[in-house]
C-alpha cells in the first residue's frame, strides 16, 4: 500500500532564510506527487505537483520541490521564507493509474519575523 511520511511535525525558520519541508513516499510504481498548503479553518490549496520530467518542480508563491527517486523523497523548498508562509503543509502521492490520493500527516511551518 502506498504511504507518505512527513517526519517533522513542525519546522521553524526565520523570515528571509531558506526553508525545507521534508516528504518521503512509498509506492509500488512511479508516483505522482503533490504539495498542498492549509491555512487555519480553510481547505487545502494546491502548490505544485511532480508528474514526470525535470526533477525540480516550481509552483505557486515561490515554492519549489525536488523529486529524488533514489531517496524516494519530494522535499518542498523556498529560497526566502515569509511570515505569511506560516501554515500547515501536506505532501500527497498517487500511484499512476489509480485515483486515490494519500496524504501525509502534515508539517506545521512557523516563520518568525
Amino acid at each position: 500500500a502506498q504511504s507518505v511520511a512527513q517526519p517533522e511535525d513542525q519546522v521553524n525558520v526565520a523570515e528571509g532564510n531558506p526553508l525545507t519541508v521534508k516528504c518521503t513516499y512509498s509506492v509500488s510504481g512511479n508516483p505522482y506527487l503533490f504539495w498542498y498548503v492549509q491555512y487555519p479553518n480553510r481547505g487545502l490549496q494546491f502548490l505544485l505537483k511532480y508528474i514526470t520530467g525535470d526533477n525540480l518542480v516550481k509552483g505557486s508563491y515561490g515554492f519549489e520541490a525536488e523529486f529524488n527517486k533514489s531517496q524516494t523523497s519530494f522535499h518542498l523548498k523556498k529560497p526566502s521564507a515569509l511570515v505569511s508562509d506560516s501554515a500547515l503543509y501536506f505532501c500527497a502521492s498517487r500511484e499512476i493509474g489509480f485515483q486515490k490520493l494519500v496524504f501525509g500527516t502534515g508539517t506545521r511551518l512557523l516563520v518568525s519575523p
Partner: protein
C-alpha cells in the same frame, strides 16, 4: 476564480442526530471527492464520484454515512446517527478528469462538532 463551495462552514450537533453537508464543485469538474480530516492528521478519502457514479467508497462507514451526487453536479454527504468520533473537518474536492495526474481543488470545509 472558480472555487469549490461547501455549506455549512460549521455544524454543531448532538450525538445520535442526523447531519448533512453540501458541496458544489467547480463547474465542469466530473470528479468529486469527500474527505474527512481529523485534527492533527491529513485528509482521508471517504468517497469519490465520477459524474453521478461512485468510484471508491471503500473507506466510507456505510452503516451511518451516505453520499449522493444525483445529477452529477453537486453532492450531499449525510451522517445518521452522528457519533462523538465523527467530529472532524469534512472537505470536498473536485478535479477536471479522472486521470491521476490532475490536481484536486478543495473547498473550505465543514467543521463538525458532535456533543
Amino acid at each position: 476564480e472558480a472555487e469549490v463551495a461547501q455549506s455549512p462552514r460549521y455544524k454543531i450537533t448532538e450525538k445520535s442526530q442526523a447531519v448533512a453537508f453540501w458541496c458544489d464543485p467547480i463547474s465542469g469538474h466530473a470528479t468529486l471527492y469527500w474527505y474527512r480530516q481529523i485534527l492533527g492528521q491529513g485528509p482521508e478519502l471517504l468517497v469519490q464520484f465520477q459524474d453521478e457514479s461512485v468510484v471508491d467508497d471503500s473507506q466510507l462507514p456505510k452503516d451511518r454515512f451516505s453520499a449522493e451526487r444525483l445529477k452529477g453536479v453537486d453532492s450531499t454527504l449525510k451522517i445518521q446517527p452522528a457519533e462523538l468520533g465523527d467530529s472532524a473537518m469534512y472537505l470536498c474536492a473536485s478535479s477536471s478528469g479522472g486521470d491521476s495526474y490532475n490536481e484536486q481543488f478543495f473547498g473550505p470545509g465543514t467543521r463538525l462538532t458532535v456533543l
